[in-house]
Symmetry: C2
Subunit: 217 residues, 2 copies
Amino acid sequence: MGTNIPVPATTTTTFSATPQEFGIGARLTLAVMSDNYVAVILAALQEADSTGIEVQTGVVSTYLSGPESELLRYISQVIAGASRTGAHVTATVQFSRGCPGEVTCTLPPTGGLFAEVPMLAPTGVPAVAEWALYPLDDGTSSASADHMRDIYAAIESAKASGLLVHSEHFVTRLEGDLALVLQVIAAGWIMAGRTVPHVATHATISLNSPSMNSNAS
Amino acid sequence: MGTNIPVPATTTTTFSATPQEFGIGARLTLAVMSDNYVAVILAALQEADSTGIEVQTGVVSTYLSGPESELLRYISQVIAGASRTGAHVTATVQFSRGCPGEVTCTLPPTGGLFAEVPMLAPTGVPAVAEWALYPLDDGTSSASADHMRDIYAAIESAKASGLLVHSEHFVTRLEGDLALVLQVIAAGWIMAGRTVPHVATHATISLNSPSMNSNAS
């Protein structure tokens, strides 16, 4: 895919671990606004390529664990698959890194885990997302923690991606091809994670919304 | 309502502002898995009591601004109203405080804004939520920022509320009456906000799920 997201120079690569050891994963909730939602969701989950990731289905969300590139590919395919039925779909996506374990969270040493920003094939599915990034820096990774600095850097990176980008209360709105929306969300999360050990990001993504062309929120 | 959430002693009350000046608000996305979703969502939004809060409807979510107690009452009524149709509903809720403004975020001085934890009337609607809390402490509010300390305190508080509480990857699962679920989510956010200026919390809430009784994820 031809869109390049500018990648800032990294200064630290102080930690290495497998994605699972580092707690790299995602949660995905797919909502399909149709009487036929069960069949649409099951088909979308079954038809997506889950190679390389662990998938655990729960009541509220599906938990996914694995490398960033595989997580992104699977999530993009699941959401695109459900959207291609033409139904109005909302997807809630959470990515997290640096907090492995269930009951307790063993934070890694200072510095983050270097990962490349994956490239995703375009889906042809237009999406609108509201995105929030949370670099949970306790000041261990540098003399001066500044979570807003990392958030602003991610927004600047989004603006250079080719997506439509609007600042809203609490979130940044991203509009464009679903794959590029997911790629930009993951890029902010991955790049903040190069210096901050524990980083989470949330996005609510709307597809085929009947108010998409009439609302200028 | 009879359930008391233990409230830790607070040490700082260093800042005062209106909810709007302090950026206290929420975003709510309601997904109704029915062909009739537009009518269900519109009725739920119209029938809820929006006294005291600003409501802005967007493509992805509805933005709400106002005091914590009014936000909670409105969100509880909207979700309960949609759920009482019997449809499978998922609600995505984000609460935020301490980051007013759209394009830029002017962080308040050190210390948080004291707010009481509101009590909500039970709805009779059973809910399952996956909840994450993000205290965005840069170390300005104390000598030693420790975001996991605040998260663990919120989880302990949830366990004392009477809800079923389970730790999962990246989230805590809460099960019980929708009103108490929302109250516990808001309590964690409000209590962390007494010492940390900028705090966000996210929850994905599932109601009337067909897999609720068959899945032990």
